[in-house]
């Protein structure tokens, strides 16, 4: 059997064993986990963030890709600043989505996550940082999946996608606030907390749609041209 197949088998076996171990541990201490579900949910979210970064570490990376991802993340971070006065309207989500759409899920995730982390070095790190990193990263990664499976997505489709991330980002960020600071949790209290942020989520979605409609097609064109430029190779035809 070739070494590569063996390696893959070993990896699958390790993953299955690990999952079995975690499940066994979970069923053994199910009551304890259910009692402290908020902490475990938090750990699970952080583990997801770490897994994305591990995946990035494992990939082969050229200097051009490093330069590209860092400059896009920088741009996503800097673009938060001039819009700080307008609540929830930030082109960061838009930039992350178009980067993911053009350069793939991994680049999209890194742009969102690093953009959130980098901008918070200047705007203030807080308990919100890992969540912003994860959710903006997910916006980029899902845009990457969209670009992969629906490369010819229409303008309307992309607008709906951007708007839904405006709401989704706010709802996911609310989750962290609600879980950590409101007790006991009931449906009506959750509903009220979400109603309180509804206006901001609408603004975020509105901003995303505006940015996409105003800039989307041209920015995507610029990025696609740049992608062609950095992946361009010349092959010598023999004879």
């Amino acid at each position: 059997m070739p070494v590569r197949t063996l390696n893959r088998l070993a990896r699958i076996a390790a993953a299955v064993l690990l999952t079995a171990g975690v499940l066994a541990l979970a069923s053994w201490q199910l009551r304890f986990i259910l009692q402290h579900w908020a902490v475990f949910a938090l750990l699970l979210l952080l583990a997801a963030l770490v897994l994305f970064f591990i995946h990035f570490e494992k990939s082969t990376l050229s200097s051009r890709e490093v330069g590209l991802i860092s400059i896009l993340a920088t741009l996503a971070a800097v673009s938060r600043v001039p819009f700080a006065a307008l609540p929830s309207i930030q082109p960061t989500t838009f930039l992350t989505i178009v980067s993911g759409y053009v350069f793939g899920a991994q680049a999209g995730f890194m742009v969102g996550a690093v953009g959130a982390l980098g901008s918070n070095f200047f705007l203030g790190q807080g308990p919100w940082t890992p969540f912003q990193m994860l959710f903006w990263g997910l916006a980029g990664a899902s845009a990457g999946a969209l670009g992969k499976y629906f490369p010819d997505v229409s303008r309307v489709g992309m607008t709906i996608f951007s708007a839904s991330w405006g709401f989704l980002f706010g709802w996911l960020m609310n989750l962290f606030f609600v879980v950590c600071f409101i007790e006991p949790l009931t449906w009506s209290s959750i509903l009220l907390a979400y109603a309180a942020s509804f206006l901001f989520d609408c603004m975020h979605a509105f901003g995303n749609v505006c940015f996409y409609l105003l800039l989307g097609p041209s920015v995507i064109k610029v990025l696609q041209r740049f992608k062609a430029k950095i992946t361009y190779t010349e092959s010598q035809v023999p004879g």
Binding site: G67, V78, L215, F226
Partner: protein, 309 residues
């Protein structure tokens, strides 16, 4: 705007720590408000972080975080009784509203809201200390040992933010010179104007990224093991602060598991009197958290101690 929260080196004792020691200490400061809900512990942690800010000459930064945190804490304080209807002591009952029905303000929910507000302040001030005590490069330097690609992207991006912000301001000024008024027009027009700026910046910075890539290639990026420019010193102060942070973390987890820090708000507030055992654990934990601040104070005042650590 960018200079408000970013790290400024003031030569304070806690700023000279090795990142592992500083992060362990800050992790202890952060974990405690997250896992405790006893008001005594919550207030104690807030005081410990305030003292650390005072000895590091970071009171200004701490205060700007504190004011933001205060607004959020006030929001939690008032939202909690409104959202949560548990508790036996009703202070105020609001008239019936459509959709949400009748609402009661209870003392227990108000106290829980206050405790959560202090918890939020504790968490936020721990982050304020992180911002003022730990240089971002030290953290990325530490991360680069485990995940050098991610650390490289993060440090490059963080380094480029001020430069790109300057470019953005310059581009904005050029546009203003050409007659674009960024403060006029409706929301759509304003977004359009900022959009042009963004597009301009995108094109120029993408070209810049190619130059960065060439410079990296010229410095043999990806060939052989990573080289380091800076090595962090490990001094006795790092061991001391690391150990006190570690002890604080372990003791907190132990106290939480054994229930020494438990406090029940619902359905009726528990007796506020602190038992001996609660007080003992509280003092132990406070000593661990205050130790680095005491050391910092000694380091400033006592040359002998300064030369030893």
């Amino acid at each position: 705007m960018l200079e408000n929260f970013c790290y400024k080196h003031k030569g304070a004792f806690l700023q000279t720590l090795h990142p592992v020691a500083a992060l362990t200490y800050l992790a202890a400061l952060l974990l405690r408000p997250l896992i405790f809900n006893h008001p005594l512990y919550l207030v104690g942690i807030l005081l410990a972080s305030l003292l650390a800010a005072v000895v590091s000459d970071a009171l200004g930064e701490w205060f700007s975080y504190f004011t933001v945190g205060l607004w959020m804490a006030a929001l939690v304080l008032f939202l909690n009784p409104l959202l949560c209807q548990s508790g036996e002591t009703v202070l105020l009952s609001l008239p019936s509203l459509p959709l949400i029905g009748r609402r009661f303000f209870t003392l227990e929910a108000l106290c829980y809201g206050a405790a959560m507000g202090i918890r939020l302040l504790g968490v936020i001030t721990a982050f304020a200390l992180y911002n003022t005590l730990v240089h971002p490069d030290k953290v990325t330097g530490l991360l680069s040992r485990f995940a050098w690609k991610s650390a490289l992207v993060v440090s490059m991006s963080t380094r480029m933010i001020p430069a790109l912000a300057r470019d953005l301001a310059a581009a904005r000024e050029v546009q203003q010179m050409r007659g674009v008024d960024f403060s006029s027009g409706n929301l759509r027009q304003r977004l359009q104007k900022y959009g042009w700026l963004l597009e301009l910046l995108l094109v120029s910075s993408l070209e810049g990224s190619l130059q960065t890539a060439e410079a990296m290639q010229a410095r043999a990026f990806g060939c052989g093991p990573r080289s380091h420019y800076r090595h962090e010193l490990v001094r006795p102060r790092d061991y001391l602060c690391f150990l006190s942070g570690l002890f604080a973390l372990l003791l907190s987890v132990y106290a939480r598991v054994r229930g020494y820090s438990a406090f029940s708000f619902y359905p009726k507030l528990a007796q506020p009197a602190a038992g001996n055992i609660v007080l003992f654990w509280f003092l132990m934990l406070m000593f661990c958290l205050l130790f680095p601040s005491i050391l910092a104070w000694g380091w400033q005042r006592w040359p002998f101690l300064r030369s030893r650590i």
